[in-house]
Symmetry: C2
Subunit: 162 residues, 2 copies
């Protein structure tokens, strides 16, 4: 039961994008360089973010990714679901219907209690993720990032945009 590594990468990337000057974009290559992750694989993940409408893209030189909407309107759940999907973490295979005591499918009126409890837990998990927005994460980053790292990051970014 583990989330894809891509979730960590793309959420960090979005936090980065949220801090960019407006009308600036950042390519997958540059994001990958900044976080030291595989460029091609990160690009694949960012394309999923684009499909999900979280980031917008611009082709060509000085193109790249930028947020498609205000950071306040992007939830952690949005980003998690863009990478890992919306399907419940518990997959019910209806084993109650199998074996020597199983009866015709139409006799099972409700999902079994186990599946219901699991889905409820999955729901509260998603509800909790929805409470955190990209804006929240950006604020936490701004206040908690070590000063020395903040300086290095700003310097690196200045080099990026000439």
């Amino acid at each position: 039961m583990r989330l894809s590594e891509g979730v960590e990468w793309t959420v960090h990337c979005c936090t980065m994008l949220a801090g960019l000057p407006p009308d600036k974009a950042m390519s997958a290559k540059k994001l990958a360089e900044f976080f030291d992750v595989p460029p091609d694989y990160l690009a694949k993940h960012m394309q999923q973010m684009s499909k999900a409408g979280i980031v917008q893209t611009k082709k060509g030189p000085n193109g790249g990714y930028s947020l498609a909407k205000p950071a306040r309107d992007i939830t952690l759940l949005d980003m998690v679901e863009a990478i890992d999907g919306r399907i419940c973490s518990f997959k019910c295979t209806e084993i109650r219907q199998r074996g020597p005591s199983g009866v015709s499918p139409c006799q099972y009126k409700t999902p079994c209690g186990i599946a219901r409890a699991m889905r409820k837990a999955d729901q509260v998990w998603r509800d909790e993720l929805r409470k955190t927005t990209l804006f929240d994460l950006q604020m936490i980053g701004l206040t908690e990032t070590p000063p020395e790292q903040m300086n290095k990051a700003i310097t690196w970014l200045k080099g990026l945009f000439k």
Copy 2:
């Protein structure tokens, strides 16, 4: 992000064990037959349940698995964690420390905001799973199982215990 199939199997098995006459046990082989799942693989999972102290075992003929404590004292979380472990679904690889802006590890005083939000969501998920006990699941089974299936199951069980 998906739970192991073993979770579904073992929770159903425990619900079955909860309905057994006291001092009766059921072998992995019989459980596998009842639910129509691979016997050896189910046995592996049941061994994990045993290690976790959820079921107790008895070797030899008429041996097998039975609950190690009252169904009220076994939560869905206990069973999920017996199979899938207690580690958070989000693994933070500290990518903030990598790349050109990373600084010495000792400068990072708290886990990053992303990891904290993810861990909180994982926590509410586990809290929710803890609310359901095996007794609850047993009651749901008793009230919602199709009558025809209930009869078939009882007949099958009678054959089991001679």
